[in-house]
Amino acid sequence: MTATSSSQGSPPPDSLAGPAVPAVPTPRAGVAPGHAGPPATSAVLARSLRARRGASGGPGGRRRRGPSDERERGALSVADWRRPQVAWTWRGMHLALLVLLVVWCLGPLLLLAKFAFTPTQDILTHPMALFPNGFTTGNIEQAWTRYHIGRYFMNTVWVALGSWFVQVLVATTGGYVLSVLRPRWAKALNWAVLTTLFVPAVVLLIPLYKIVVDPPVGETLINSYLAVWLPAGASAFNVVLVSRFFDSLPREIFEAARVDGAGPLRVFWSIVLPMSRPIIGVVSVFAVIASWKDFLWPFLVLKSETVKPLSVYLQSMANVDKGTLMAALAISTLIPVVMFLLFQRMFLRGAGLGGAVKG
């Protein structure tokens, strides 16, 4: 609950002005982003910047790099950096860290990319040699045509989309009740949601399986996407995240809308939702990533070939030809990695926020 939540806590008018600040050359140390200049100027600037950047980052995602970064300092002061001994030590350490990060974090993925285009025989005998006997696209073709990676890939997309929708629906409507409408029973509801945060996932596994096998209404949900979509919505973490954000929205806006005759639905749809785009972005990223990563639960409930997501299918591929397997692994890694590179701010902000909320 530190800089992260306080920066996400500021209302969207700030978030419009926020991205405009880096364009202003003067360092704005200590000045709140909302006061970045005459409102008209900053709004125009912000609008043009947003138009140029497109929808990708979202206003919230950009804010972290705004004025706060200039204000912040680490343990090393400017004076420290001027001292040759300190500067060279730290430059050396930073370079070593970079080499380590490239080898340790990127290395395995580069190897995977190389394996995807290397004939199986070479993968097995000379894994570290760079294409000793040429280059092949046969692995990718095999994975795509014979093992139908594309089909399972689409299943994963469905799983992710549905989980995303249920999670956003539950978190936004729930957060709206807990933080904006605040009926008398909101406190009890909040408490009931919060306690589930303290129940480890292991406890839920088997009872959830029982419910999915024999749900209270309707047919069994085994091999139905609903078996993954619906439990995904029961994320107390999302509800906490969203309701904290709603808490920070200025209540005067809701009061004003109410006075103007807007009902609860109208306030939700036309005011709260548009204002909470940054937090919905974070929840969405979490939701998509989680369903992309999930293995055990889909492995238990999505068994048939028509609904099996990629992660479950890959596990059953473990013993096929190594070249094909590597190509399949590479294809399944590509999409999340590309998504991460495109939306990196949102990912990293979400990851940091996760720590802040847990903390």
Partner: protein, 317 residues
């Protein structure tokens, strides 16, 4: 309805007054109905997939059930069976070993990385992206890839690389002593980036005034890090520690996919035991599986309570 009244008026009188004033019509008019409608998705989803399963876990742990035939009540038999399971000491030892190794590998490395990265004046984003990259790789992909890296032949990826400096070949997953550290190494690779980002977010909020003050007092860089940076991270460090322990105590994916508990149960963890009791070939012993998972949850709850008690006096947040 006003709170000042509620304090002075005795509860009974207050209730009757409230009932008279809160007819269904006024309830709807005041937004009670719409609040309920908005809460409906949360109530239904949490009710069916969170609150009810928690209750149901307790119920199932007292039953003998295979989810097909009607369950029979067996009292505490499941707990007795689980506690006298000859494999129980092994799986507890394995899980503790995994958790300990994960702490040794995975706890200091992200901290050092994050402190170094927070001092970057340029390209901080680039470093963060590199560090976070493994986190976005689907875990199944990571495990299958690393399983290939751990090929025990001399031509295996890791054995080749270590062979360049004259080490190995090592048996990796094939050997009972090597298997668990190998699992932890991959798990650390997959998770460290997330912790780095959490620390970085916390480091941003270290007040600049503290560093300024330390400089006025003539503190060197290392003293600033030791006396300002690390103490400011205290709250986050406490939380990530207990979260990591809770996470690693429930480790499943790595032992399941890498070794399926082998060789000779050397990597069978509590969670894998729960899975095997419930879903493996001779399983369908859902009652015992639930009992074991409840025992684990109870242990974690007690452990975190004790932990928070012990650290409360040191923690800032």
């Amino acid at each position: 309805m006003t709170t000042t009244d509620a304090v002075s008026v005795p509860p009974r009188v207050q209730r009757t007054r409230r009932e008279r004033r809160r007819t269904p019509v006024t309830w709807v008019r005041r937004g009670g109905l719409s609040a309920l409608l908005f809460a409906l998705p949360l109530l239904v989803i949490f009710g069916v997939f969170s609150w009810w399963p928690i209750v149901s876990a307790v119920e199932m742990s007292l039953q003998k059930t295979n989810l097909v035939d009607a369950p029979t009540w067996v009292g505490l038999d499941n707990f007795r069976a689980v506690l006298s399971d000859p494999l129980l000491p092994t799986v507890i030892k394995n899980t503790a070993w995994f958790a300990l190794l994960a702490l040794v590998f995975g706890y200091p490395i992200p901290l050092v990385g994050a402190v170094l990265m927070s001092e970057l004046r340029r390209r901080k984003g680039f470093y963060s992206v590199l560090a976070y990259l493994p986190v976005v790789v689907p875990p199944v992909v990571a495990v299958l890839l690393w399983k290939f890296f751990y090929d025990p032949r001399p031509q295996g990826v890791f054995n080749t690389v270590l062979g360049w400096v004259g080490l190995g070949p090592y048996p990796w997953l094939a050997d009972a002593t090597w298997a668990m550290p190998s699992l932890v190494l991959e798990a650390t690779w997959a998770a460290a980036g997330g912790t780095v980002i959490i620390y970085l977010a916390a480091l941003i909020s270290v007040p600049a005034e503290l560093y300024d003050a330390a400089e006025v007092d003539g503190a060197s860089v290392w003293r600033k890090i030791w006396h300002v940076t690390l103490p400011s991270l205290r709250g986050v460090l406490f939380i990530t520690l207990i979260l990591q322990v809770i996470g690693t105590a429930q480790i499943f994916l790595e032992p399941f996919l890498f070794t399926n508990g082998g060789p000779n149960h050397a990597t069978e963890t509590i969670m894998l035991r729960v899975y095997n009791l419930a879903f493996a070939n001779l399983g369908n012993n859902f009652g015992q599986a639930t009992a074991l998972s409840l025992l684990l949850a109870a242990f974690l709850a007690v452990a975190s309570l004790v932990y928070f008690r012990l650290t409360r006096s040191w923690s800032t947040s």
